[in-house]
């Protein structure tokens, strides 16, 4: 790493993680501190926006201090501040945005509003060199998207969910199976122990479409459980989990493979919290094993929400000359871009 590489401080507060990271040269993570609120939200069975916002206010400067200390840098060493501008929970985003603005003002540093999903995609740059054109499969609690990137910082959304995000479907099915929040990891674990034996639908949508739909699948699971109960039959939760997961993974992987071939990409990147899912990871690996297309799956701590990914994406913005003013606001509907 050259010594004059830029040092970017990233801030992320779009949901229930308060995170700050210092990244050098867009790839070298000097610190990556995440305060998760999951324990607090568990009792409500989901993230409560007002409570998330309250936690962010209390954690923010603590995490900032820890990130700087761990990285052994001061604000004088920082070249710019990148912050998640959107999408996300507006009240939660506001804390990060206003903190970043105050920090930029206090030290007269450039401010770079950054897209959360651009962050998830650029998390891959922290573990591997990116080669364009590439395709990113973004799967998280709020997103299920296929993004084509012709070159650095150029995003084209080629497919997205028309109803529930994959992560949402996981949470709802988990609730039906009476699994604790967050449900995704529990379903993944059960699925490993069960066999795919319950017939469930896959929404391929119209021919050639790269969009997704998971609400039909979710309803089918709920109906299956309901009907079995009425008939006093027993379905093993492990088998139902395995069948549900197979249906989700099947659609995700098939569409990803098809898009990767159609767009003739060099790499396929997996991004977002659901990237932690074992079933999805192994199925993608299998499908791309004999392919010339390189598959990149970041380690878990770069898949879930973190600020290193925001600093990484912010570095691209910084190099392209993007500068946000002190009027920067939280934007829950922000369009994908740098």
């Amino acid at each position: 790493m050259e010594n004059n590489a830029e040092i970017i401080l990233g801030i992320e507060t779009s949901c229930d993680e308060t995170a700050v990271s210092i990244v050098k040269g867009g790839t070298e993570v000097l610190s990556n501190i995440v305060a998760s609120q999951i324990e607090s939200h568990k009792r409500f069975g989901g993230v409560v926006p007002e409570i998330a916002s309250r936690h962010h206010v209390e954690e923010m400067t603590v995490i900032l201090e820890e990130a700087l200390r761990t990285a052994e840098v001061t604000m004088d060493d920082v070249d710019a501040i990148a912050v998640t501008e959107g999408p996300g929970l507006v009240g939660a985003l506001l804390i990060g945005v206003n903190t970043a603005k105050a920090l930029a003002f206090a030290h007269q540093k450039p401010l770079i509003g950054t897209h959360h999903i651009a962050g998830h995609i650029y998390a891959n740059q922290l573990v591997s060199e990116l080669k364009y054109p590439l395709l990113a499969l973004v799967v998280s609690g709020g997103h299920t998207e296929l993004v084509h990137m012709e070159s650095e910082g150029e995003f084209t959304l080629i497919g997205e969910t028309r109803d529930d995000a994959a992560g949402e479907a996981y949470d709802k099915v988990a609730r039906t199976l009476k699994l604790p929040y967050p449900g995704g990891p529990h379903i993944d674990r059960l699925a490993q122990e069960g066999v795919e034996s319950v017939p469930l639908p896959r929404a391929w949508l119209e021919k050639g479409s790269y969009d997704f739909s998971f609400s039909g699948l979710k309803s089918a699971v709920i109906n299956t459980v309901h009907n079995a109960k009425q008939r006093n039959e027993e379905i093993k939760p492990e088998d139902l989990a395995a069948s549900f997961q197979a249906a989700v993974v099947d659609v995700l992987v098939t569409k990803t493979k098809r898009a990767a071939e159609e767009y003739d990409v060099k790499q396929v990147l997996l991004a977002g919290g659901v990237a932690a899912n074992k079933g999805l990871r192994s199925s993608l690996k299998e499908v791309f094993a004999d392919s010339d297309i390189e598959l990149i799956i970041p380690p878990l701590h770069y898949c879930t929400d973190n600020a290193a990914m925001i600093a990484a994406a912010g570095t691209i913005g910084y190099r392209k000359g993007k500068r946000s003013s002190l009027q920067l606001n939280a934007n829950p509907g922000l369009e994908l871009g740098i």
């Binding site: 007002e50 206010v57 209390e58 105050a102 206090a106 939280a330």
Partner: protein
């Protein structure tokens, strides 16, 4: 001492800069506009106008609530970050105490309040003590009509200071009659200069990190959850 005072706890957005014993700049708007967009640029502009650089500040004072949850968090986030990163003291002052200052020469109960919907208000009670005010009770959220009935004999005169006066005027007059004093609207915007003065006198917060707004109320989900645990 150079003090920056910030209040974004309600529609009123206020910023003041005090240098030693002089208020050198004060900015107030009372608009239903976004504090998140406007507050930081307004701070920058005012400091520039009065010729104070951020690293020349000696103290940050913030209105800590009660008020709009989101508004409070914007002001408190900025104030905490500035104090922490500039390594200077942070002081929190009650938003109602700031508002009460407009009535500091009044003989009787000074009652600043903010509407909190469904017949409720956040209020506090203060009385004159020389040129300063003395707090008579903690900031609270009350059903206004009930509170007026319960407290009507506690004082001879009541001064109500609020931008929400119009909505509650009838109820106040109906219950208190001649005892109620309703000042003109020019008293109703909390003055950030008062915030700066109060904050200059108060002891700073020991641990900037743990400072949080005074919401007065628990988050609704939290209250419901606690209630369900008690069943």
């Amino acid at each position: 001492m150079r003090v920056l005072a910030i209040d974004s706890s309600n529609y009123v957005m206020g910023i003041a800069v005090m240098v030693d014993d002089t208020i050198v700049g004060e900015l107030i708007t009372n608009l239903k506009k976004n504090h998140s967009i406007r507050l930081m640029p307004a701070i920058e502009e005012l400091l520039e106008e009065v010729g104070v650089k951020p690293n020349e500040l000696d103290r940050i004072v913030v209105a800590e609530g009660p008020g709009s949850y989101t508004g409070l968090r914007i002001g408190v986030s900025i104030a905490k970050t500035l104090a922490w990163t500039l390594k200077i003291p942070l002081v929190g002052v009650s938003s109602l105490e700031v508002l009460a200052q407009s009535g500091r020469f009044f003989d009787g109960a000074i009652v600043p309040f903010f509407d909190a919907r469904r017949g409720q208000v956040y209020n506090g009670v203060f009385v004159k003590d020389g040129t300063r005010l003395m707090r008579k009770n903690e900031d609270q959220i009350v059903l206004f009509e009930e509170w007026l009935k319960q407290n009507k004999d506690a004082h001879d005169q009541f001064l109500f200071i609020s931008n929400d006066l119009l909505n509650h005027k009838e109820t106040i007059v109906e219950i208190l009659g001649d005892k109620a004093v309703l000042p003109p609207v020019s008293c109703a915007n909390a003055r950030p200069s008062e915030l700066a003065v109060l904050g200059a006198m108060k002891e700073p917060i020991e641990d900037v990190h743990s400072f949080k707004p005074n919401y007065v109320r628990m988050a609704e989900a939290e209250a419901k959850w606690l209630a369900s645990q008690e069943k």
